[in-house]
């Protein structure tokens, strides 16, 4: 703490193109991840009205292996000038937007694609593509493998020690599945989830049931970023990047279940920096895409962004309050990772942009400030605020 506030980047870049392949259940796309990445990037460039060959920067996160150098010849790339991955897993998504903005503002690149593509192959997807084979012996020796289990431990602490009602998990799931009904792309649009179906669904790892966990999908999702100046002349309403801090404070990082506070999603410090850098606060946000690998981690993310605290979470996290168009804070308006599909969280970025454009399947009327929080519980996380021209 006590370090300077970064305002240099505020509103200087914008997302001007979004591209998505259809979402397929894992293993059913019939196309390799590289081809899905190309399809998403080309679609995003066309959406922006920019030739794919003009893209000179490539930024992703996690274990994305479809790097720019592998796509150059297929995109007709004239010159690749910037490429990077942001640490570590889904926590890095908004940070990837921030890194792309850094490259643009410093003149290292002009047109940057931020993207993620996954396609099941060989059954090693979770281990390699998501978990990156970095699960500690302290966990694997003791029966802990999946993110569902690690997140379950944190959420159990949130419920039993912090007193957050367990029903907040169900509310989060009901909101996402409700929004998915109006999204023709969503894999879970026909699930017809209600309280009874949720309550009767099988346990995965307590306190998580089946419907608390994100879906595994095959798809590619990409966005195109350029300078705010160039964005004015393009065909889409720009979604300006107001801030996208990444990081972790003392008590967080790789700590093998010794994090403090344990129920945290990792946003302590990072979320406060977002508000300081953008000049906005939680009360100003019109709509939010809350990365929910598991519902309970989304609850922690909402608390750490100061939308509520553990004592008020039960009042704030209700179906009515989180549902578009009339809720106080509509979240996950495409169905999110739970009900739309899980491309390591990247589809939450395109939905955050659609809300600024006015083209969401569950549009919040007049939305001008759109939040997207990165993968919760990651050893480093990031969070981003996007806005229309009136917010810059």
């Amino acid at each position: 703490m006590g370090k300077g506030v970064n305002r240099m980047m505020r509103g200087t870049t914008a997302v001007v193109g979004i591209g998505e392949t259809p979402f397929h259940k894992r293993g059913t796309s019939g196309e390799p991840a590289l081809k899905l990445a190309l399809r998403a990037i080309v679609a995003a460039a066309e959406d922006a009205g920019i030739a794919p060959s003009e893209i000179d920067g490539f930024v992703s996160y996690g274990s994305e292996r479809n790097d720019g150098q592998r796509m150059m010849s297929a995109l007709g790339t004239e010159e690749l000038r910037f490429g990077a991955l942001v640490w570590t897993h889904g926590g890095g998504i908004p940070g990837a937007l921030g890194l792309a903005a850094t490259a643009i503002v410093t003149g290292q690149a002009e047109v940057v694609a931020v993207y993620r593509a996954m396609s099941e192959s060989g059954g090693r997807r979770l281990r390699v593509d998501v978990a990156q084979d970095d699960t500690a012996a302290q966990q694997l020796v003791n029966g802990l493998d999946g993110p569902a289990q690690m997140c379950a431990l944190r959420t159990m602490r949130l419920i039993e020690a912090e007193g957050v009602p367990a029903r907040t998990l169900r509310e989060m799931a009901l909101v996402s599945y409700h929004h998915a009904k109006r999204n023709p792309r969503a894999i879970g649009r026909d699930a017809a989830l209600d309280e009874r179906i949720y309550d009767e669904s099988r346990w995965i790892s307590e306190p998580y049931r089946l419907f608390d966990c994100s879906r595994e999908s095959d798809a590619g999702v990409a966005v195109i970023m350029v300078s705010a100046e160039r964005a004015k002349d393009l065909r889409q309403r720009p979604a300006y990047l107001l801030g996208a801090p990444m990081g972790a404070v003392k008590g967080w990082g790789v700590l093998e279940e010794n994090h403090d506070p344990y129920w945290s999603a990792g946003f302590r410090g990072v979320a406060d920096r977002l508000w300081r850098e953008t000049g906005y606060g939680p009360g100003d946000v019109d709509v939010a895409q809350i990365y929910e690998n598991m519902t309970g981690m989304g609850v922690s993310a909402l608390i750490e962004h100061r939308f509520c605290d553990p004592a008020t979470a039960g009042d704030f996290i209700t179906f009515d309050n989180l549902t578009a168009p009339d809720g106080g804070l509509p979240i996950n308006t495409s169905g999110g990772n739970l009900a739309e599909g899980f491309i390591h969280g990247m589809s939450l970025v395109s939905e955050a942009v659609r809300q600024i454009r006015g083209t969401s399947p569950n549009q919040v009327p007049g939305a001008s400030l759109s939040l997207m929080t990165g993968g919760p519980g990651d050893p480093v996380v990031s969070t981003a605020l996007l806005g229309d021209a009136s917010t810059v």
Partner: protein
Amino acid sequence: MEYSFRAHRIAGGIGADDRFWESLEEGVFRLPRCAGCDRWMWPAHFRCGGCGSWEQRWEPVEPVGSVYSWTRSWYVFDRTAERAEDVPYVVVVAEIPAAGGARVVGVLDGPDEGVRVGAPLRGRIDAPSAKSKGYAAVRWSLAGE
């Protein structure tokens, strides 16, 4: 001594806890303290971020504590499939006051009806087995009030 875990090395995580696994195979539950400033440093690491020392002392600790958090897993996960016949099983994060509140993960043994945050725990050491992926492991039991 030939240590089983070295032949079954898991590469993830920080990887500064070899002495922990060696000690368990020797039948002793040890946790590390910084040799410079004496604080418990867990999970083990190569350097103390507080005082800068590169040395640790591994001290025997009585495996007694309480449930910091817990989960009952009902799904056979890919890399812990050796425990399929035990599903559902409970994993606890045990907080150990005698080691500065260090938290150590372990599978719960015996009746699990009373498992909740704060419940007292006592641990014992299991020899390396397939279920624990060739490592020795601490198994916790609810100790009763």
